[in-house]
Structure formats: structure tokens, C-alpha cells
């Protein structure tokens, strides 16, 4: 991903034009690297053909880990390693274990989800993200197309397709 250096960048002024543009560009057989928008655009994920995120599965598994960890910990501590009578209850009594179990489930699910997200999205300290066009942080929608992946098309073809799809500009962008 980082090795690709040559991109064509399409600038779109309006999110409705962008949504239609994405479909038009993909219909022409152009593979889109990524689209950057200044605010969330509903329907963009579907238009780009992204698959559903598997993050919920990771969250569920982390949560399950938290549940079993909490129960194992409490049962081992209070039932096996150091049994103590508290309030006349059994050594292993489930109801007082539930709050701790709940908290650890939530904690592990949340931390695990954040960690997974950061790893999958390649977010880490000191990482400097690529800026295809700084106006994507202001009022423009930016569509990046990787020339190396679309080797069957020339850069002029791609620029023409972008303009036809409603882009107000189509620029070259090279990273060194």
C-alpha cells in the first residue's frame, strides 16, 4: 500500500455528485484506492463496494474473553485459592460476581475493539498519513485512484473518466 506512489486525484464538490461519480467510475472498470470526505457521506461504503466490517466479531470475542477471564479469576480466587466467608454466602456465589464480570466484559470488548481497529487501519504513533489533497479536510470530496493498480488505463483515460463522472478537477499526485 505504501509502496504505490503515483495517483490521480479527483475532486468532487457535492456529495450527491460524488456518490453517482463513484458508481460511474467503478462501472468503467477503474479501481478506486480510497475516497476522503470532510464529513460522513451515507451510502458511500455501499457505493465503493466495501464489505461489512468484521469489527463486531472481534468485539464479541474480546467480550467473551473478558467474561471468562472475570469468572475464572473470581472463582479461582474466592473459591479455590483463598476461600473466605463473606456475608454468609457460598464461596462461589454467582450474583456478586456479575458486576465484576460485566465490567471486565465491557472493558476488554472496548479496549480490544480499539486496538483491533488501530491495527487493521494501520494507525500508530508517529504515523504521518498521506494527504492526497488538503481540501478534503475543508469542503471537497477527494477520490484517489492508484495508477499502479489500474495499469490497463493511462492517466489521461482516468482523468477523462473522472471528469465525465462529475469531478471538478482531476490532478496528478506523486508521493516520494
Amino acid at each position: 500500500m505504501e509502496t504505490n506512489k503515483n495517483f490521480i486525484v479527483g475532486i468532487f464538490d457535492d456529495e450527491d455528485i460524488l456518490l453517482e461519480g463513484v458508481e460511474k467510475v467503478r462501472d468503467k472498470g477503474v479501481k478506486i484506492h480510497e475516497v476522503y470526505t470532510p464529513f460522513p457521506v451515507h451510502g458511500l461504503d455501499e457505493a465503493l463496494g466495501y464489505k461489512r466490517s468484521r469489527l463486531p466479531i472481534a468485539a464479541f470475542l474480546f467480550g467473551l474473553t473478558g467474561t471468562s477471564l472475570a469468572l475464572t479469576m473470581q472463582i479461582w480466587m474466592l473459591g479455590i485459592d483463598w476461600p473466605m466467608i463473606i456475608g454468609g454466602k457460598n464461596f462461589v456465589s454467582l450474583p456478586p460476581f456479575i458486576p465484576v464480570t460485566f465490567e471486565l466484559t465491557v472493558l476488554l470488548a472496548a479496549l480490544g475493539m480499539v486496538a483491533t481497529f488501530m491495527i487493521v487501519s494501520d494507525l500508530k504513533p508517529y504515523k504521518w498519513p498521506r494527504q492526497f489533497d488538503l481540501r478534503s479536510t475543508d469542503d471537497k470530496h477527494v477520490m484517489a485512484i492508484d495508477l499502479a493498480i489500474n495499469a490497463n488505463l493511462s492517466s489521461d483515460d482516468i482523468k477523462r473518466i473522472l471528469k465525465e463522472a462529475g469531478a471538478s478537477e482531476a490532478n496528478d499526485k506523486n508521493f516520494e
Binding site: 456529495e15 450527491d16 451515507h42 451510502g43 461489512r52 463486531p56 464479541f60 450474583p95 456478586p96
Partner: protein, 448 residues
């Protein structure tokens, strides 16, 4: 907003076929109820004495607090089977009071939160509010019928003589003020009338605003509905809790729980949400509510999921504190419900139907977006909370002589049939979609 979507006007038609189905449900309920009553009457003569004897020893073993000799319902009670009918009537009534009032509560939350997503389906919860006047008459009428058997504190002799009940005497002003303990519970009765009166007034006022909005399309009605809703929510916050103490918790008059108002509210609210989901899904299947799509269903599903968890949270908070403190005056409530059939299996079933099932079945995104799953989970939640109300009300009245059978199921079917009839009839009186709702476009573009 990018583009404007035009909405077709829709009118729900309450078909004769649907009415027939509901009448069959009610008739079947009546038959089951009659068989159930007959069975309860015959079994009453048989093993009742033996059963009662066992129950009594068990009750003593379980350390009934202070008033062992004063076990509720012991003096001048009706026959066991009559008490069973009264209990079941009262619990079904309280359950459906909740469904009716939650319909109005849902509408008011949408206005107060200025929610746009729900503007296409608000007529369904509004129609549920049409049960409120019927619920009012039923509650007031039934109260006079069942008070002697259900509400131990209404008996004048518990406040008299050397054996006067100290706990109830202290609590008596809450029921009888300004009259003296043991006479007519004026304060209690005024609350009952006031709550139903104001709930119904708010319902009528908001319905009127919706009707006016349909006709002239002015946004002033929306603003007025919003302020009405805000006032209603304040009133409902107080009245729903007090109603829960009055109508449910005062059955176990010696016992109290500070969570109880919330607990009853949570149970009402989530069963009302499940009912809304079910009606919306059924209407969509019948070709109505074209503007409701899987995004709106997703939100409704999230509501059901979230408030099933909320109910569990309240349930557990109440249970854990009592379990851990282990004070006999408090634990008696759960001992009654955890030791003897049918309360014990209902006690655990309650947790499965209202927490485990909705939690696991509605967890994924797809489950909340697809009608096939919502159609399964919504009835589970509704039935689960009906059982919840069964266990809140029955043990306090019937003690260890309670039963669960055709009598209870039959009455539930009768009430359900009547309630659905009123809701669908109400739904057919107004356009199904408020065409002039100022946030309708937002609802049409809703995407999550």
C-alpha cells in the same frame, strides 16, 4: 438535503377478516378461561388442604418477618379459584395499562427529542394510546372488585386493636390520607383517577395536534406537541413510579424496593416497544408503511435490544442488593418466588425470555434489520414481560396456593384480543402516515 421524496398517503383499513381473527382469539381465550376456572374450582376442593399445610410450614421455615400470624389474605378471603381469577384479571390489566401508556410515552419521547427517524411510524404507538380510557375504566372497576383479596392493606382490622399491624399503620397515610386508616383510601384513589385522567388528556391533546397537522400542514402543531410532550414526560416520570408502587408493590404491602418504580416502567416500556415492532412488521407485510425500511426497523430493534438490557440491569440491581444484604424483611420477596412452583420456574424463565433471548437474538446488525427475526423476538419479549408481571403480582396474593394454567392463558388471550382490536381500530381512524410532519423528509432519508 439533496432531493425531495414524495410520500403517498396511506390509510389502514381494518378488514373484516382481521376482526374475525381477533374475535376467534378472544373466543378461544374465553373457552380456555372457562376450562381453567372449572379446573381450578375442582382442584380447590381436592388437595388444597394438604398443599396449604406444606406451604405453611415452608413459609415459617423461610422466616416470614414479624407478622407470621398475620400472613396476608388469611382473613376473610375469597375461595382460592376466585382469588386466582382476580389476580389474573389485575395482572393482565396492569400489563395492558402499560402497553397503552407506553404508546403515548414513545410518541412523546420522539417529540421531546426532536427525533426525525420515527416520524413515519408514529401513528402506531399513538394508536396504542387509545387503550388508556378503557384501561382507566377497567383499573378503577377491577380495583373495587379485587381490593379485598389483592390489597391486604385495605382491610380495616389490620389497623385496629392490640394486634394492629405496625408497619401498615405507619404506611397508612400514603393510602388513606386525609381519612383515617382503614376507611376509604382516598389519597390512593385520587391518584389513580388523576393519573388516568391526565394521561388521557395528554393523549387527546397530542392526537388533536396530529390531526390538525394533517389538515393544514402548519409546523406550529409540531412545536405545540413538543412542549406538551415535555410536560407529559415530567408527569409520566413521577406517575409511572407511583402507579407501580400503588398498583403492584402495595400487594406485598410489608415489603418495599426503591427500584420498583423503575422496574415496572422498564417492563412496560420494553414490552410496548416489542408491540410497536410487531405491529410495524405486520403492517409492512400487509403492504402498508412503505416509507419504513430496514433502517427504521434497525432503530426499533436497537430500542428493543437496549431496553431488554436495561430491564435486566434494573432486575439485577434489585436482586443483588436484596441478596447481598440478606435482610429477612426483604429476602422474603424472592424466597417466595424462588422456592415454589410455578413461581420458581417462571422466575428463571423470566430471565431467559427477557434477557438471554433478546440479547443473543438481537445482537447482530442483521437481526435488527430483518423482519423475519424481529417477528420472532418481539412476541418473545411481550410474553416474557407478561410472565414478569405474573411473578410480580401473583405470589403476593396467592402465596403458595398460586397456579398457572389455562385460566391465566385464556385471560391473556382475551385481553390481547381486545387490546389489538382497539389499537387496529384506532389505526384505521387516522391516516397511517402524517404527510405534513415537518421531519418526514428526514425520516425518508434515514440511513444507518
Amino acid at each position: 438535503m439533496g432531493h425531495h421524496i414524495t410520500v403517498e398517503s396511506e390509510q389502514y383499513i381494518f378488514k373484516a377478516e382481521t376482526k374475525k381473527k381477533l374475535f376467534i382469539l378472544i373466543a378461544a381465550g374465553l373457552v380456555l378461561f372457562a376450562i381453567g376456572v372449572f379446573m381450578a374450582m375442582t382442584s380447590d376442593h381436592g388437595g388444597h388442604e394438604g398443599h396449604a399445610a406444606i406451604s405453611k410450614t415452608e413459609m415459617l421455615a423461610n422466616a416470614e418477618p414479624a407478622q407470621v400470624g398475620h400472613a396476608e389474605g388469611e382473613h376473610h378471603g375469597s375461595a382460592n379459584w376466585v382469588k386466582r381469577i382476580y389476580t389474573s384479571l389485575w395482572m393482565n390489566n396492569i400489563y395492558f395499562v402499560g402497553l397503552g401508556i407506553v404508546g403515548l410515552f414513545f410518541v412523546c419521547i420522539q417529540y421531546a427529542a426532536q427525533a426525525g427517524w420515527s416520524s413515519g411510524l408514529k401513528r402506531v404507538p399513538l394508536a396504542m394510546g387509545r387503550w388508556i380510557p378503557i384501561a382507566a375504566l377497567l383499573t378503577i372497576g377491577l380495583w373495587f372488585l379485587v381490593k379485598g383479596d389483592l390489597f391486604h392493606w385495605t382491610h380495616h382490622d389490620v389497623y385496629e386493636g392490640a394486634t394492629a399491624d405496625k408497619i401498615l399503620t405507619k404506611k397508612s397515610p400514603y393510602f388513606f390520607w386525609p381519612l383515617h386508616a382503614g376507611s376509604f383510601p382516598l389519597f390512593y384513589f385520587v391518584r389513580m383517577v388523576l393519573f388516568f385522567g391526565l394521561w388521557y388528556w395528554f393523549f387527546l391533546a397530542i392526537k388533536k395536534k396530529m390531526e390538525a397537522e394533517d389538515l393544514d400542514g402548519s409546523t406550529i402543531h409540531w412545536y405545540k406537541s413538543r412542549s406538551l410532550s415535555a410536560w407529559f414526560l415530567v408527569f409520566f416520570g413521577v406517575s409511572s413510579s407511583i402507579a407501580a408502587w400503588d398498583w403492584v408493590m402495595s400487594i406485598d404491602a410489608h415489603w418495599f424496593s426503591t427500584m420498583f418504580g423503575w422496574y415496572v416502567f422498564a417492563s412496560w416500556w420494553v414490552s410496548g416497544l416489542a408491540f410497536i415492532v410487531y405491529v410495524v412488521v405486520k403492517l409492512k407485510e400487509a403492504g402498508y408503511l412503505k416509507i419504513v425500511n430496514s433502517n427504521h426497523l434497525h432503530d426499533l430493534g436497537k430500542f428493543c435490544f437496549a431496553f431488554s438490557v436495561f430491564w435486566t440491569y434494573i432486575w439485577f440491581s434489585q436482586f443483588l442488593l436484596i441478596y447481598y444484604a440478606n435482610i429477612p424483611e426483604e429476602t422474603v420477596y424472592f424466597i417466595e418466588r424462588m422456592r415454589v412452583a410455578p413461581y420458581n420456574w417462571i422466575f428463571y424463565l423470566n430471565l431467559f425470555l427477557n434477557f438471554v433471548f433478546p440479547f443473543l437474538l438481537l445482537m447482530t446488525r442483521d437481526a435488527k434489520r430483518h423482519m423475519s427475526m424481529l417477528k420472532v423476538v418481539a412476541p418473545i419479549i411481550m410474553i416474557g414481560h407478561w410472565f414478569d408481571f405474573y411473578n410480580m403480582i401473583t405470589p403476593g396474593v396467592m402465596q403458595y396456593g398460586g397456579g398457572f394454567g389455562l385460566l391465566e392463558i385464556g385471560l391473556f388471550m382475551i385481553f390481547l384480543g381486545a387490546f389489538v382490536y382497539v389499537v387496529l381500530n384506532g389505526l384505521s381512524k387516522l391516516p397511517l402516515v402524517g404527510k405534513n410532519h415537518p421531519m418526514l423528509q428526514e425520516s425518508l432519508h434515514h440511513h444507518i
